[in-house]
Subunit: 226 residues, 2 copies
DNA sequence: TTACTTACTTAATGTTCATTCAGCAAGAGG
DNA sequence: CCTCTTGCTGAATGAACATTAAGTAAGTAA
């Protein structure tokens, strides 16, 4: 796991010549990326600063030199990915979601990070709770817009008419799409063979879009087969 | 928080007459229910035996007298709910899922327990990992059957024809329904006002069932609105 | 009464952990 | 050469925890 010896005192005889003596470039960023990976693999509560530090061949105190506390490190990790991944808004977003699902299937680490943290954030007094709440609020609004764009103007009014639960079909569809994507991640992490995230994401989007186009007034259609 | 003094030595003068002196009935069950609640509120990693013990006005060692370890306690909690909640198989199941979503909205505790634990179980070496993997495998199969029942025999063949990803549409739909339900729970826990789990669950099921009925050969239909 | 079981308690043990503090080393700028 | 900044180390602290072991108290069965 370690290319160079982790001990602070280098052996008096010779310096290791080539392998990364100490980079000038932001050490902070490397720590951030490492932390993201370890949080992803183990969850936040289950990860110690020592775990992260060991991966970097430094001490826990070394990590805290850059980030004041473990919580601070977490929020920094979340904000990193936030600025890292600009989603296209408008009509193209739905396709982007499928692409994202595809890309996630190639990066279990990042996928696990968000799947685990988002659920973990729903526990009492979790440091990332506000962050995820806000994130979902924004995403729902964006996906809702994308759905409205996709179904076309002739169905827009219907999709914007609130149902008995106080939400519009477009809003519900957006909620559903995001929910499905999140849920897929958990199932996929547990059993990759049985779940194709991209295919199912596409299916859900298609089905919901078709549904919003089809609905004419009234409640849930479709005869219930005995 | 405590009706009677938690100290072992009761005050010499008198016994508290009415309030639960010590029940003959399975103490184990009460501990199990309490553990479920606390795990639900705080997650597994973030919950100490002391937390659970305090709620019961006993010591951590008292809890371990009934369950050998914290992990054993967790699996017992999971199996409890397992036997508790028999799902109807076959056609009726899809309606049962909507009902379940409705019922979950009334019980944040239980909902949080599964939402948090299922995601947490996707981390490395989590004690509940196998349990959840098996659970999803079984549920997918059951929901798949229910979907096939619902769409009717005339669409059954199409829905059972594997796509390029190796899974049948019925299987994908089942995966999607379960994923949506799980994802909804997280969003709802974070922001109950913005999410109606039952409505969205119903929407997803309707949309997917309609989609499986509609599809004629080929890829994803529906013209992509620019 | 005696023996057994249930349901604990108290105390100790050994870890793991986040966080603090003081100091050191090495490059950068003057 | 001096000084400042960056990036750490080592050591210590104190808290939180799971788990073990041994003992106690009260009910139950004989």
């Amino acid at each position: 796991m370690s290319e160079t010896t982790p001990t602070g005192t280098p052996s008096p005889g010779g310096d290791p010549p080539s392998p990364v003596p100490r980079k000038r470039v932001n050490r902070r960023e490397r720590i951030l990326r490492t932390a993201a990976e370890v949080f992803a693999a183990q969850g936040f509560n289950n990860t110690s600063l020592a775990d992260i530090a060991a991966t970097l061949d430094i001490t826990p105190a070394g990590v805290l030199h850059h980030f004041g506390s473990k919580t601070e490190l977490l929020t920094a990790v979340l904000e990193l990915r936030d600025t890292n991944d600009p989603a296209p808004s408008g009509a193209g977003m739905l396709d982007h979601l499928v692409t994202t699902a595809e890309r996630n299937a190639a990066r279990p680490g990042t996928t696990r990070l968000y799947a685990v943290l988002s659920a973990e954030s729903a526990t009492a007094r979790h440091p990332a709770q506000d962050w995820f709440r806000d994130r979902y609020t924004v995403l729902r609004r964006e996906v809702e817009e994308a759905v409205l764009d996709r179904i076309g103007p002739e169905h827009r009014e219907m999709a914007n008419t609130p149902g008995p639960d106080g939400h519009t079909p477009a809003h519900s569809a957006a909620t559903a799409i995001l929910a499905a994507m999140d849920g897929l991640q958990v199932q996929w992490l547990l059993d990759p063979e049985s779940v194709d995230m991209a295919t199912v994401t596409e299916l859900v989007i298609d089905a919901l879009v078709a549904r919003l186009r089809t609905t004419e007034g009234g409640g849930p259609s479709g005869p219930v087969q005995t």
